[in-house]
């Protein structure tokens, strides 16, 4: 299964960032469908296949999660901790994409098993460059993990 066809789940509460990231993805010619959720609880519901995300045809299990840290309700780190505790999702690639450079956030994210920690750049052209880089990294070279299948609550 090629990464190019897999869904990317973007967990981001800031609508400006969502718009700018989607634009950057378009310009980087991402082919992946992108699903957006706005807070931690929604991210967990999506990944678990709970309502309103219980239709896997419409809301496929993603091949990559782009995760903001400062989220309403459950934080990005809480989502990450939950995800790594699910046997079916333990290997799902997660990239933190945040404006926080705080040492504590970085070290906690890596301790919870994040695959990459990226800081949102200030300048627009840098954001474009970053998204292009993420796309080409996952498309060109990265072999995605073979997931054992959706979690039981999703109902295979």
């Amino acid at each position: 299964m090629s990464f190019a066809t897999q869904t990317v789940l973007l967990v981001e509460d800031n609508q400006n960032d969502v718009l700018l990231l989607q634009r950057a993805m378009r310009r980087a010619q991402w082919t992946n469908p992108v699903q957006v959720v706005e807070h931690g609880d929604a991210a967990i519901a999506y990944l678990a296949g709970d309502a309103p995300y219980d239709n896997r045809a419409r809301y496929p299990l993603p091949g990559l999660v782009l995760l903001d840290l400062k989220l309403p309700r459950r934080s990005g780190l809480e989502v990450l901790a939950w995800l790594r505790a699910q046997p079916a999702l333990r290997c799902l690639p997660v990239v933190v994409l945040t404006s926080s450079k705080e040492h504590r956030d970085v070290s906690q994210a890596y301790q919870l098993g994040v695959n990459s920690y990226l800081v949102k750049p200030g300048a627009p052209q840098d954001l474009q460059a970053l998204i292009t880089l993420v796309s080409s990294y996952w498309n060109a070279n990265e072999l995605p993990p073979i997931l054992p299948g959706p979690p039981s609550s999703a109902g295979t």
Binding site: L19, S99, S100, G122, P124, Q125
Partner: protein, 502 residues
């Protein structure tokens, strides 16, 4: 009064009471021969005796027993009634044993049977009686003085039976313990006074607590020594009231404790405020920079997507929007860095100066290339005491400053070198910039000091404030020498690592 008769100094004055003129003459002759300078007063009737007792000063009385107008016992009692300590010698041949015993009971000092030969016994008897009386007087005087001292002393003095009761106590001790009479001491627990400390600790005074008759505790300094009354062992002790001193010590200790508590509370408050600031700074980083990023992002998007179709003026406005957002982002970043340098605990350790300079230069490489800057480096081989990140920030801001304030059309030339000054390393950065007027040199390191318009030389007014705060937090100093139009020489001085290790 006793004082009138009790002669202390001067020649010895004796009163002889005898009706027999021959006996008086014999006695006088014997006494005057044996006691040169002695003065003899003669009493031959009751009137003369009254006169003597009332008005005269004399040291001793020699009286016969049988008198026509009285007898020796009456004379003795009369004298002793007025002057109990004045010696009286009875010299008679008419007395008997009964009389002698009775006279002794009444305080007679000596009894000599009068005979032809016994006149010679008078002088030594007089001398002995006089000496005894003198000794008694001296002892009495000493005792009075001692008693007065003890009474006036504010130190309690006592004698006790070891492990038993307090036998004697001066008024000070009674005052101290709040009792009226020594007998009342029996009602108090004074075991600590009557028990001797172990040998070796006896000479030192101890601080012990006693309880007064009214139950109030007092602190005393107690010193005890073993003593004796005859064969019986005693404890002699001195008791000094130190309650006020102890209370002062205790209130001082209490004050110190509350002071420490207050310092801890204040520190906790400050830490809380500092933590608040920390949170505020993080909030500012996130919440101030996020909208700026969005403004830049959307402005750039419009320029990229539709820039060609826009009228030139609209393009200009969008470009300005982009620049303003970018400048504000830089200002927020600088302020965060400035505030971080003020709050953060800096972990100071030896840092290679050359490596720090090179790291800063390589981070600024795009800017240096864009400005066509030439950089020369000499003699940076030294380790200074610094925090790597803070030193990095200091150097970035210092170099950025040097590259920025250069006359238009001039390529910046930077020269960096270091020289040792005592225990510090001074890093110099000379530039070919526009320079700083001498009246402005003192305030270039102050925050928000801007000497030029935004259009000519853009800047946040925070860069050199970061330089100073960072260096000062690392125990160093900053300075500048400059001639307008001919460039500036900025310097930072930091402690040398070798002196730190020593």
């Amino acid at each position: 009064m006793a004082e009138a008769a009790n002669k202390v100094n001067g020649p010895l004055r004796l009163a002889i009471i005898d009706d027999n003129e021959d006996d008086r003459a014999l006695a006088t002759r014997q006494l005057e021969r044996a006691l040169p300078g002695v003065q003899i007063l003669v009493v031959t009737n009751a009137e003369e005796l009254e006169q003597l007792l009332d008005n005269d000063r004399f040291d001793l009385v020699i009286t016969d027993f049988q008198l026509r107008w009285s007898d020796g016992l009456a004379v003795l009692r009369g004298v002793k009634a007025r002057y109990p300590d004045l010696p009286v010698i009875m010299f008679t041949n008419t007395g008997n044993e009964e009389i002698a015993v009775e006279a002794m009971k009444a305080g007679l000092d000596d009894y000599i049977v009068k005979s032809r030969r016994s006149f010679a016994h008078l002088p030594p008897a007089v001398q002995a009686a006089h000496a005894r009386a003198e000794a008694r007087r001296r002892a009495a005087r000493l005792e009075t003085r001692l008693q007065t001292l003890l009474n006036r002393l504010n130190v309690g003095v006592y004698q006790a039976a070891p492990g038993g009761e307090v036998l004697e106590a001066n008024p000070a001790l009674l005052r101290l313990l709040g009792v009226a009479t020594p007998a009342a001491l029996a009602g108090l627990d004074l075991g600590v006074l009557t028990t001797l400390p172990p040998v070796g600790e006896q000479s030192e005074s101890r601080e012990v607590q006693l309880h007064r008759a009214d139950g109030r505790p007092i602190w005393v300094a107690l010193s005890q020594t073993p003593g004796h009354t005859g064969e019986t062992a005693r404890v002699d002790g001195l008791v000094e009231d130190i309650t006020a001193r102890r209370q002062a010590q205790e209130s001082l200790a209490a004050l110190n404790a509350t002071l420490e508590l207050r310092v801890r509370e204040r520190t906790a408050q400050l830490e809380a405020v500092s933590a608040d600031l920390e949170a505020y700074a993080a909030m500012a980083a996130h919440d101030l920079r996020e909208p700026l990023r969005a403004i830049q992002g959307f402005a750039a998007a419009v320029l990229e997507d539709d820039g060609a179709q826009l009228r030139p003026r609209s393009r200009l406005y969008l470009e300005r929007t982009l620049n303003v957002a970018h400048d504000m982002d830089a200002l927020v970043g600088d302020l965060l860095e400035y505030s971080r340098l003020g709050r953060a605990t800096l972990l100071l350790q030896p840092v290679e100066l050359a490596a720090a300079v090179n790291a800063a230069l390589s981070e600024l490489q795009p800017l240096l290339v864009a400005r066509g800057a030439l950089v020369q480096i000499n003699n940076l081989e030294a380790d200074v005491i610094a925090e790597r990140r803070a030193l990095q920030q200091v150097l970035l801001n210092l170099i950025r400053n040097a590259v920025t304030y250069v006359a238009p059309g001039t390529a910046p030339r930077l020269h960096l070198w270091a020289e040792r000054q005592d225990h510090r390393m001074r890093l110099w950065l000379a530039d070919n910039g526009i320079g700083i007027a001498s009246e402005d040199q003192g305030r270039v390191f102050e925050i928000f000091t801007r000497l030029h318009g935004e259009e000519t030389y853009p800047g946040t007014g925070v860069g050199l404030a970061i330089v100073r705060r960072g260096v000062e937090r690392m125990g160093g100093r900053v300075g500048v020498e400059s001639t307008p139009g001919r460039g500036s020489r900025f310097w930072i001085a930091l402690p040398l690592a070798e002196t730190y290790i020593q």
